[in-house]
Every structure is written in structure tokens, then in C-alpha cells.
Symmetry: C2
Subunit: 444 residues, 2 copies
């Protein structure tokens, strides 16, 4: 740890709850950022290959300007009229397929997913919810229950169905077996049967089409449409949790669900929407929103305030003007090719998975058995990258997946630097294992 | 409605969910604010006697400057080290009694109350929660259930105990009867018995010591300590929901619970904390936080980010430097005296209740029977004030209470203007009644 951070670390342990975790045993003390770069208190520069929240880059001047301009005018709530929240809702609606265009604004992805499930339950009259194993959808009482790695398995509520994610490298059905989409979708049907046997109908399935917490997966092409059909046949709604997959993250399309030709009933937005500012949203159809309004009141004091809306509009402006979707698509090729090339030389890389600007390297102790490396080794590798000036993360059910998810401005020169440092680190890296127990829900 | 707002209103109805409500049949379209003043799109100025969220005044330059400065540097999450979040936690801890000093930062009062109840349930092992009739504590699935006016009564969960608030003007026990505190606290014990009969222990009671949604009440002095004792005897925790009552709102003390010599187990903060910026917190004791951490993971991506923390620190700076607690206390006298004087001349004012910069006028059709005026009349009065350039609200179980809750910078000259306009409006006001049904949870 840097010496300047020592006293701060001690004060932090005193004042913040022990639930707070820090990345790295020697935490990084960030004081400044610009584009894909961040700087610590000692002036050291890091290439940010981890943070999707500053989606359009750290401290983007255009976003900061929009924030400051509106904050200098007025910040109120939606019970007075204001242009910004309406303009934002219209713009999101125009970007979404079908008649998804009726918006609720909230402050966090947690609030968005919590409201989405409330809507689904009220509208369907069913209680059941389906998520994948080691899902993460947020931290409220309700959504925390949908985040299956945040609490002990025996505390799972009986209205919760937990299914295997479509992990075609490590799951029960693996490439190149045929009909992988159908096989994984059949697990959805099994989950629905299990719920029914417990007396619960299905209100909704939450799907993060980046399968971030599962290790950054790419599902078989037909998996989502088959899954959606099964859910709808039993009267449930499909919630696309775009907190991770949305905002160009997966390349090719602005939304993750579009990559799978899926038309969701409800879409939830979060992290990248405000490039760090707490703004999030739920978008659904007019019919679903109308039905919900007959049964429930909903108001969110900060949600959709003029400042948050101005920030969210500025983020969309930057994405358009800087052609960041095209960049994510270009990086899909550059990073995908580069990581696969590394895999040809480093047997620790069992699988390269992901797309656009979101990649996972499933790291293995043995390529044949696909035995995951120990959490302690995954941490060592991420820490090694940190000492080489690269911020990355660890994810996946076995916390053995190196997670790369940089801001959308990430360019070829940054990819080259990342690949060079990763190559150097893995060259001669010897697995050490270790019984470093992972805390509940620790992302790494 | 102003002509410039017509098209916006139509667009809004298209793009936002029907759950969204607007104040006034002819909504106010605000575009700018400064101190206690706000301005609409047509340049009309209003004295803000309603909004506590812009606690230190609209668009306070010092708060805006702190926001812009930090947003221009970096906005990250708490998994990297940063000074601001630690400084904010230390400062809040130093302002709170006992060993309340272990902080969690979140983005909204809803998230704060949701987390507080999660903590109480995990730590006590009990499921039951107690709130007052027509409580409002937020909008997540869990906290929405604690907001008893947001959904039909028959849907109340069996772990919820709902008690009569200490309304000494309109409730079952009324001034000047003796032992009012003990009478109301006995209802808490009854509620605990009811929970026990349903098989539920008590995890916590949530107490808003401004009783905002109940009509802005002042409890008997001993009510809170008696209540806390009953809750603790059965193993429950006391959560002071300071989203409304905190931040000098009630005068005399920074926190509402201090007015009642109450030492809570958990304190939740929200609305005024960021003067409009979405920042909120849960503060508890080291022992409770430690126990929670052994059973649950908790992380909030946006919670405690450097920008939100900088804003929250600036709000505390302004409160200190502008001596806003002393101002709230001074206004306690000015507004209280002024409103009571109005009551001597206007029989529609059944009761003047509240303190500091938070007052409710319980408006009655008949002073003897205390029959509340119709919601339609309350709306007409608030609307009349709007046309006189004063923003106010309506609250209370019978939505007959005129709610006055201005920014903390509200001064004697503003009080005089409010009192003058209210006097003029009530002079000759004839009750019209009306069957204008109030929507579920409409505070307006």
C-alpha cells in the first residue's frame, strides 16, 4: 500500500461498516481520472480495464458540464414539470424495440430491478421469480434475494427458482455438443415446474445478457427466445437487466437483449446510464405500466430529477457523437483476437468468453479437466496486473474468471497495452493455489 | 396551466408511466431556483414553503461548486480508497449520540430504510416490523410494505404491525388528557402482542419523529422513550428514520430523535443530505454492523462515491457556516406564533402542529367535531397559495393538513410573506367539499 493511504485505511475501518470491501490487499487510492486512465494519490497512472460505471470515460467534460449547468439552475422532483425527464424518457423509448417506451426513473440498478419485479408480480398476480445461479441483481431485501451469491443457499425463499446459466464452457452442456440453446432452455422449464410444485406461478425471469456474475458468458443464439417463450407460456414476464449489458457494452447493439433478438417486457437500466451519477430506470410497455398504476402508487423523490436527467442525456449525446457503439464493435475484434492469441500461448487461459468491451478469461489449472484456478491465484493475477498499471477484476461462480470491462472509449492502443502486460504477467506465472476463503458475495 | 407547458404536459403523459403524479391541476413548470425562491418557465417567482430536499436552499453555490469540483476529478466506488467517504462517515458519527458511528452509504431514503430493516432482521432474528398508520418510508418491495398508504389494507403482510401515531389533536387520546405518552405507548405494546399472536417477534420499529405523513405531529415528551423501552424489551431495535426529521428540520436539534432524548439503534438519512443529489445513509453501532457482516454481504455501487460524499460534506458545511440550526430554531418561534395567530382568526385552522421549519395546519370543517375538510378543499387551498406565489403541500391521514416545510434558509421576511398570503386566502374562504377521490398514496 502507498504510504499516504495508510492512515486513511485505518480511519476507513473505523468509520465504515465491516461490510465494505476493498479491491486488492494493497488498495488503490484513486484521486483523479480522465478517459480510460485513473491516477492514484502518489501520481501513479492506471489503465482502467474494469470500470463500466464511468461508461463514457472518467470525468468526461461534456457530462460534467451538463451536471454543473443543471445543478446551478435547479434540482427538483417530478411532481413539478420539467423538460429533461420527458426528453430522456422519449429518447430511451425511441432507442428500445416494440412498444417499450413507458419510463420510471430511479437512482440505482437495485431500485430498478426491485420496481421491475414489483411490477411483474402485480401485473401477473404471480410471486415466483427466476434467476441464474450466482446471479447478482442488487441489494434491497427483494433484489438481494435474487442475488444468490449474497446469502447462504439454505435461506433462499421458496418463490425463487435458480437455474444454471448457459455456460457452454463449464456448465452441464458444453460446446460443441448440438442443440445447446434447447438444452439450457429446458432447464428453465424445469425451474418453472419446480416453482409450480411449490405452489408458485412465475412473475418474471431476470436476465443479464452479459451473464457478468456467471463469468461473462455468451449464450447460444436461440437460448433467449426459447427461454422467453417458456416463461410467457406460463404467464410470466421477461425482464432484461441491462445494468451490465446495455449501453454498447457487448458491441454490435446498444442493448444486450438485441444481440439475442429478444423483445423483453421490462428493461432495467443502471450503472453506465449516468457515467457515475446515480441514475437508473425501468422501461416497459404502456399496457403493463397502466395495469401497475391501478394497483400501486409509486414515487421516487430523486428519480428523474432535472440534474440526473441532464446527466443521462449527456451520456447518450457522448455515445452518439463519439461513435462509441462502433468503437465497442471494433474492440470486439481487437480484444477478442488478442485474447484468443494469448490463449494459444498460455494454457492457464481455458476459455476466452465475452463480446464487445466485456470479456472474461476462464482461468484453469488444467486445460483437460477445466479445473478452475484457486481464488487466491485469480487475486494474485489481478494484483499483478495492478502492479503493472492495469485495473481488472475477478468474477464467475468459481471466482476464477479474469474480468475485463473498460470504459467505452477504450481504443486499440489501450488494448495493446493490456495484452502486452497480461502476456508478460502470464509468462512464467506459476500457480500457487491457497485456501484464501472468499467472503460471501465478494466479487473478488 | 401556462401555455408554454401545454405541449410538455402532453409529451410527459406519453413517455412517463401513469404512476407519475403532478402537483396542482395546473402544474408548475420550474426552471430555476435560488435560496428559498423558485421560478417557472414564464418567469413567475414562487416562495418555496414545501421542499425540504433542497435543504440549504435551491442551487446553493457552495454545494454546486463541491459537486462540480469532484465530478471533474473522479467519480468511483468504495472498492477503491477515497478520502471523502471516510470524512463524511467520521463527521456524521461525530454528530450522532452514543456509539452510533458506523456508516453505510446508499442513494435514497428507500435504500437506507430497506437496508436498516434488513440489518434489524438479521441481527435480531425476528421478522416483525412496526410502523404507524399512514406511514411512508419508501418504495422498494420491502419498504413499500412499510408505507401503509401506498397499497390496499388487505394486502398488509402478517409480519407488519401498524399502530396509531401520537396525534394528540385527532387520535384516540387527545390533549389535555393526562398521561398521553403512556396511552399512545401502550398501543405499541398492543401491536407487539398482535405480532406475537401471529408468530412474529419484532425486529424493529421505524419512527419518523416529524410524523410527516401523519400530518406533522409533535408527540408527548415521554412517548418515544416509553416506546423504545417496549420494543427493546421484546428484543427489537429502534430505527430513527431521519429522512424528514433530520438536518435541523424540527429546530432545537440537528436530529429529530434528539428532541425526544431517544438513542436509536439505527439511524437512516435521506432527502436533505445532498440538497437534491441522491445520497443517503444508514448509521448504526459497531456491534450491530459487525453482526450483520457475518451474515450478509452488502455493496452499493453508487453509495458513498466521491462526488456524492463531497456534496454531503458541503451541505454540512453550509448548515454550520450559515448557522441554519439556529435559524430553524428562530423560525420555530416566528412561524409557530404567526400560525397560531392566524388560527385565532380563521376557524378552519383546527390545530397548529409541528416545530422548527416543519408545520402542519389541521384544517377542519367544524372546530367542535374536528371534521376534516375534504381533500378537494385542501387541494383548493394549496392551489390558491400557488396562485399567490407560495408553494405548499397537503398531507395527513385525511389529506386535510396544509404542510409547510421550506428550505432551511427560510427567514422572517419569508415567514411574513407566507403568513400574509395565507391570511388573505383564508379570509372569506368558503368550503366547497367535493368527492375528488384521492389516489392511493397521493401526498401531492
Amino acid at each position: 500500500m502507498t504510504s499516504t493511504s495508510d492512515p486513511l485505511l485505518r480511519r476507513r475501518a473505523e468509520a465504515l461498516a465491516p461490510s465494505y470491501q476493498l479491491f486488492y490487499d494493497e488498495p488503490v487510492h484513486l484521486v483523479r481520472g480522465e478517459g480510460v486512465w485513473v491516477y492514484d494519490a502518489d501520481g501513479r497512472r492506471y489503465l482502467d480495464c474494469y470500470n463500466n460505471v464511468p461508461s463514457v470515460g472518467h470525468a468526461h467534460p461534456r457530462v460534467v458540464e451538463a451536471l454543473c449547468h443543471q445543478a446551478g439552475l435547479i434540482n427538483t422532483h417530478t411532481r413539478y414539470l420539467h423538460e429533461h425527464v420527458v426528453a430522456l424518457a422519449e429518447r430511451l423509448g425511441a432507442m428500445l424495440p416494440g412498444d417499450l417506451g413507458t419510463c420510471y426513473f430511479v437512482c440505482t440498478g437495485t431500485e430498478a430491478n426491485d420496481l421491475a419485479v414489483q411490477i411483474a408480480r402485480v401485473v401477473t398476480g404471480n410471486e415466483g421469480v427466476m434467476v441464474t445461479e450466482r446471479s447478482y441483481h442488487g441489494n434491497s431485501e427483494l433484489v438481494g434475494k435474487l442475488s444468490t451469491d449474497s446469502y447462504p443457499e439454505h435461506e433462499r425463499p421458496d418463490w425463487l427458482a435458480v437455474i444454471e446459466p448457459p455456460n457452454t464452457y463449464r456448465g452441464p452442456f458444453r460446446a460443441p455438443e448440438p442443440d445447446l440453446g434447447a438444452h439450457y432452455a429446458a432447464l428453465v422449464d424445469d425451474g418453472l415446474d419446480t416453482l409450480a410444485a411449490r405452489g408458485h406461478g412465475i412473475s418474471s425471469i431476470l436476465i443479464d445478457t452479459s451473464w457478468d456474475s456467471n463469468g461473462v458468458l455468451v449464450a447460444p443464439d436461440d437460448y433467449m427466445s426459447l427461454t422467453a417463450e417458456m416463461i410467457r407460456t406460463r404467464g410470466g414476464l421477461v425482464i432484461a437487466d441491462e445494468v451490465q449489458a446495455g449501453y454498447c457494452r457487448l458491441g454490435r447493439n446498444f442493448w444486450g437483449h438485441t444481440n439475442y433478438d429478444l423483445l423483453p417486457d421490462i428493461v432495467t437500466l443502471g450503472k453506465p446510464m449516468g457515467a457515475g451519477h446515480p441514475v437508473a430506470a425501468v422501461v416497459t410497455t404502456p399496457a403493463i405500466a397502466a395495469e401497475f398504476a391501478t394497483r400501486r402508487n409509486y414515487f421516487n423523490t430523486f428519480g428523474g430529477n432535472p440534474v440526473s436527467a441532464a446527466v443521462a442525456l449527456a451520456v447518450l449525446d457522448v455515445i452518439e457523437e463519439e461513435a462509441l457503439l462502433a468503437n465497442a464493435q471494433a474492440m470486439h475484434g481487437v480484444l477478442g483476437d488478442g485474447l484468443r492469441e494469448l490463449a494459444t500461448r498460455h494454457p492457464i487461459i481455458g476459455n476466452v468468453q465475452g463480446s464487445g468491451l466485456f470479456w472474461g478469461l476462464d482461468l484453469v489449472a488444467d486445460r483437460e479437466t477445466r479445473e478452475p484456478i484457486a481464488y487466491a491465484d485469480a487475486k494474485r493475477i489481478a494484483t499483478g496486473l495492478r502492479h503493472r498499471g492495469i485495473l481488472a477484476g475477478v468474477t464467475g461462480r468459481y471466482t476464477n474468471v479474469l474480468k475485463l470491462r473498460p470504459p467505452l472509449q477504450f481504443a486499440a492502443e489501450h488494448a495493446e497495452l493490456l495484452l502486452t502486460e497480461l502476456d508478460a504477467l502470464l509468462t512464467g506465472y506459476v500457480l500457487q493455489g491457497g485456501a484464501d476463503a472468499r467472503a460471501l458475495g465478494a466479487e473478488w
